[in-house]
């Protein structure tokens, strides 16, 4: 999802902590475990100094994000901040390999051994983990007054079956990029409806001011579902009924929305047909090289657009909430990782303490500054330091307010494959109603 953060895997491998007894044995010279013990004792000198024996030991697993520091550094900071809990960091692959992260988590959680005690999860896995009984409901620890500090869209995504089973951590969402200079020539007003957007884009394209009016992501992949969720929700449509037991994708709101996407390729031609094979990066490149007027993408594009080495549109790019249909509201597909507690954790209180700490204002503040990941607490967008150091992020509060969760169902992995295939077929063939009917029937079979 986020190209800018695909760093190399760091060496923040967690170090097993070794008790004082172990070290004494090593000193005595019991040679049997020499190699392992020497390594362990050597590396644990820093952390193990605290009263190791009396601390509750828990583990934390997360996809590896990078910035000025790593999540391993965060955990170290937590370990040093108190002397009751000792957290072991389990590093999973980076978020770009999200299928592998998912597999890794499922395998550990399915064993029901209580490891990891606390974990971070992509928003689309929350329902599945909750339905399997792996995620501890957090309602008693986080009553309504504590929850009001988070974006409501994120809280919705963290709720399954009426229970809060995840705690918001950091987020991203789809947003509308536009070229200020080209827009200036065509009215200067950021379009708020899809129809206006199409008219302006077509006019700019016709006038030769720009090659492509609007870029989006039509590759048969997860991102297509994100684009679809946004445009369907902005027409008061939905993919699943509120009870999650049937599909609404063949209803008027959804069909009109998908038809609009098809029209951008076939009728008003504001998008090149290539978007059918483009995910995030291929659609970003023409935009930052100055060939496109509007684009839907994630927040990672902005720093690239402002980087003179990679972009020809420095200082010419603006960001706004995505347009909507008449009578609908702008909607942005919610992404990001949220926190969960293992239902089988043997150290529940310690796990909750770590969870609370990780999602606290202070730590979200630190993550925003050091990782460039946006907080899930709206209040932090007013923070002076964030405004100064991450001015773009601070401007996103309005976009994130419209963040909408993808279909909340434990069968999401199957639903998304059906959606990717069905929507791709509709976009290629143009038989939107027929393809959506077929997709709805397939989804009904999965979730019904």
């Amino acid at each position: 999802m986020d190209e800018s953060r695909k760093g190399p895997r760091s060496g923040s491998k967690s170090i097993g902590h070794v008790t004082i007894a172990d070290r004494r044995q090593f000193l005595i010279g019991s040679a049997g475990l020499l190699g392992a013990a020497a390594f362990g004792a050597g590396t644990s000198l820093g952390i193990g100094r605290a009263r190791a024996q009396s601390r509750a030991e828990i583990s934390f697993a997360s996809a590896a994000f990078f910035g000025k520091e790593t999540f391993g550094d965060l955990i170290k900071a937590f370990n040093e901040s108190q002397d009751r809990i000792l957290v072991k960091n389990i590093e999973l692959p980076p978020p770009s390999s999200s299928t592998e992260v998912y597999q890794g988590l499922v395998q550990q959680l399915a064993r029901r051994t209580g490891t990891p005690d606390v974990f971070s999860q992509d928003v689309i896995w929350i329902a599945g983990f909750a339905a399997a009984g792996w995620a501890l409901p957090l309602d008693e620890y986080f009553p309504a007054d504590k929850r009001s500090a988070y974006f409501t869209g994120t809280l919705d995504a963290c709720t399954y079956g009426g229970k809060l089973t995840a705690l918001p951590w950091f987020m991203d969402s789809g947003m509308f990029y536009y070229r200020k200079d080209v827009l200036e020539k065509h009215g200067g007003k950021v379009p708020e409806s899809w129809a206006d957007m199409a008219t302006i884009a077509a006019a700019a394209q016709k006038a030769g001011d720009i090659d492509y009016g609007y870029l989006w992501q039509g590759k048969q992949a997860e991102v297509l579902v994100c684009d679809a969720v946004e445009i369907i929700t902005s027409n008061n449509g939905a993919i699943l009924a509120p009870d999650g037991k049937s599909s609404l994708i063949n209803q008027k709101g959804a069909v009109e929305a998908i038809q609009f996407l098809h029209d951008t390729l076939a009728t008003n031609k504001i998008s090149p047909k290539d978007v059918l094979s483009w995910d995030e990066e291929p659609s970003r490149q023409p935009f930052t090289s100055g060939k496109a007027m509007f684009m839907r993408n994630w927040s990672y594009v902005y720093p690239i657009a402002q980087d003179a080495k990679a972009s020809q549109v420095v200082d010419k790019v603006g960001v706004a909430p995505l347009p909507s249909f008449p009578g609908g509201k702008s909607s942005a597909c919610l992404g990001g990782y949220q926190l969960g507690v293992n239902a089988n954790s043997k150290q529940r209180e310690a796990a909750i303490e770590l969870l609370t700490w990780l999602s606290s204002t202070e730590v979200q503040h630190r993550i925003a500054l050091n990782f460039g990941l946006a907080p899930t607490r709206p209040a932090l967008f007013q923070d002076a330091q964030i405004k100064k150091e991450q001015p773009f992020m601070a401007s996103l509060e309005k976009v994130f307010t419209g963040a909408t969760a993808r279909p909340i169902t434990p069968e999401y992995a199957k639903v998304t494959l059906a959606l990717q295939s069905g929507i791709s077929k509709a976009l290629v063939s143009g038989n939107v109603q027929a393809e959506m009917d077929a997709t709805a029937a397939q989804i009904d079979k999965i979730v019904g």
Partner: protein
């Protein structure tokens, strides 16, 4: 090891030697090899077959024996058949093209000319490249907007507007086949070259003496003698092409509109994205069976060829 363990072992071989007949000794010595092979090859296949008869899913935590219900579902699953046909089409097209072009390359490389060693080595470069790199490279070559292929065709006047190579259902699979042919033809050429070198020169010289020209020599002498090699190379290639994954995964992800979905990408999605190990194993087993049938057809044909030659 402590002393306690070593003392009794001194007398053991002699005693055992008397107790066990020779054949049993041989079996005993084969056991380690058998166990290691069985554990990495036989067990996974049998376990896969067993899983395909269950509804195992990591997400629902079910693991019940359900008989052939996965196969019944598979039989009526349009996505499976869609992927099945794409895989067959890909396998046939790429194997035939690679064999024909590879044979041409082998015939050229078989002749003596200056710098032949260098050409032979250079030929292998595409094959030595990791497939993911090839995929990325063809992604750029066939890019709908900036691809050099479109540029060349456009300037040569062969097309009047850019072709959306892997964004269109008409051309996506063809693009993938072209990439595969580019990558794997050298492998075929290499196999066929070794085959060609086993054709005795005396036969060809004798044919020349009798007045046979190049084409006749190829058609009546080289090709029949090359047939077994050709069939074995074709079999290798077909079985390999059947499990195409990386090209599709990197270039199109199975899209657009499922037009490049193959059995490998489908079973990956079912097994590892949705974690339905039962149904996914059924897809894999269907793949296994189809590959078995392909291998059988090739082998029967090969045996017939060899018998006829004798």
């Amino acid at each position: 090891m402590s002393a306690a363990a070593t003392i009794p072992s001194v007398g053991r071989p002699r005693r055992l030697g008397k107790a066990l007949p020779g054949a049993l000794w041989a079996l005993l010595l084969l056991t380690p090899a058998f166990v290691s092979l069985a554990s990495v090859s036989f067990y996974p296949i049998v376990n896969g077959l067993y899983l395909s008869l269950t509804n195992t899913s990591l997400i629902t935590q079910e693991q019940d024996f359900t008989g052939f219900s996965n196969y019944v579902e598979l039989w009526g699953d349009p996505q499976f058949w869609n992927a099945w046909w794409h895989t067959i089409w890909f396998t046939t097209a790429s194997t035939v093209l690679e064999t024909v072009i590879g044979l041409g390359m082998a015939l050229i490389l078989c002749e003596a000319f200056k710098g032949r060693g260098l050409v032979r080595a250079a030929m292998l470069v595409p094959w030595a490249m990791p497939t993911v790199v090839t995929s990325k490279m063809f992604g750029w070559l066939f890019d709908g907007q900036h691809g050099i292929i479109n540029y060349l065709l456009l300037h040569a006047g062969l097309i009047d507007q850019n072709i959306n190579w892997y964004g269109s259902t008409d051309t996506a699979m063809i693009t993938i086949i072209i990439a595969d042919v580019w990558k794997t033809t050298p492998f075929m050429a290499l196999l066929l070259l070794t085959g060609l070198q086993t054709v005795p020169n005396s036969l060809i010289e004798a044919a020349r003496m009798d007045g046979a020209k190049g084409w006749i020599t190829f058609w009546y002498i080289r090709l029949p003698l090359l047939m077994p090699t050709l069939l074995i190379a074709g079999l290798f290639r077909a079985l390999d092409a059947f499990r195409v994954f990386d090209l599709v995964y990197v270039l199109t992800g199975g899209g657009p509109a499922d037009s490049t979905e193959t059995l490998s990408t489908l079973s990956y999605k079912v097994l590892f994205s949705t974690l339905q190990f039962g149904y996914g194993s059924a897809v894999s087993t269907a793949m296994f069976v189809t590959e078995g049938v392909i291998a059988l057809v090739f082998c029967l044909y090969l045996v017939r060829q060899i018998r006829r030659a004798q």
